[in-house]
Symmetry: D2
Subunit: 140 residues, 4 copies
């Protein structure tokens, strides 16, 4: 599970392929079995009561596993999310970014499974946990 | 599970409480055990290859169960999503809105569980299925 | 999604391949997009308070989607469960069998996704809902 | 999240309350935020091809989070599983027990959420991951 792309490679890829979310996510660092990502929390991610919206947390988990995966197989493959689940555990701290630690549990030829813990920056107790499954189309 | 809010009540509530998603979602109709919602698919929901993003589908399922629930308990309660899961089944049809049919399976005092099928408008085969659980805080 | 195996074919297959669960499950009938299965509730499925154990409900959902799938692709393929999720909604009625209605939502070349509603026999309100994903290994 | 029951307390409780699964599960040890459990793999847990059945893995994850929880709140409360999800990652090694490491992520007044990694004993690569949510009824 050694990465073949660097953080800079991934950032360039993200910026080019996903212009819709430009500025939302930042790559903190690759880890031996995954990646650490940041959600730059802004007004558009918030909901009544000041909490971060569920879809924003889902998006953070989704992109984290996606980039953890691409870092290992390279940017050519068109991987697609086949399923994802999230447990929302606590309200995030107001005014703090969210940090997602994603870990690949299986990097198969067809299916890739990762799990994610999301925390408010600097806090120990997790805000959410997620699992994401990607499928990799057969090479041609 | 008889609704106590109308479609117009729900639309007013959605517009007031969730200005961030104004224009994304429309209420089609309340059903005996749920609701039908529309995602007005726009450029910002798309991903490379023209597919609708996973977080957009998650958001559609989330808001559908939320409004199905509020229609039955009224707009006062602060219900929060505690968990959600999505299976992505097929690529949506290009240029079509997405229609979500949400159904409440349990409307308990503490937990509410709903399931959702999402289709491209006018198509039979579902694009995604989802399950969402909300918790209702104790009344004060 | 037309079945190519009959209820009798499936029962013979189940009995031969899964002797460990012989007597637990019965095939009620194939449906246009799925199957209806019965769990013959016995002492070994119960937990304190007279409820049916979570693993027994998971097993019922799992076998229902598995047989719904085999009925369409035939008994040769070695399909394996890749993921499953269950929401437990209500305590089953004491002294009644459980009836699972499984529906295939996607019957792909690689992944098969089904959803299941489980009820106490003769009751309307569901006891549990489940989703199950199977992967089909490439033909040789 | 300091335990108030010992491993011996939990074993006595398990043996008394869940006689149906006597011999299936063993408590390895309590950990700072969870528990390690063993499934004594036997013929009745196996499926064609020598794999451990999905429901057996679900049961292992379920009991692990349940005991991790009881160890913290005591054996009086009647906690019930409200939902659970499992990703099956690899075929277990033949002839080895399964070891589950469960970790509590949230120990709330109403909902308790845990995650579980299951491995064949002595192996690094996980066989399955799971998430389990329990609800704790209000004290009277």
């Amino acid at each position: 599970m050694q990465p073949i792309m660097t953080e800079a490679d991934l950032a360039t890829f993200l910026d080019r392929e996903f212009p819709q979310v430009r500025g939302d996510f930042a790559i903190e660092r690759l880890t031996p079995d995954g990646i650490v990502m940041r959600l730059n929390v802004a007004e558009r991610h918030l909901r009544p009561g000041g909490t971060v919206s569920g879809p924003s947390l889902f998006a953070l988990a989704d992109v984290a596993v996606y980039l953890a995966l691409l870092a290992r197989i390279g940017p050519v493959a068109l991987a697609v999310t086949t399923s994802g689940g999230v447990d929302f555990l606590r309200k995030p701290e107001a005014g703090r970014d969210l940090i997602a630690e994603a870990r690949l549990l299986k990097l198969g030829c067809v299916l890739v499974v990762g799990e994610v813990l999301i925390r408010s920056e600097g806090q120990e107790a997790p805000v959410a946990r997620a699992n994401m499954t990607y499928s990799i189309p057969p090479a041609r």
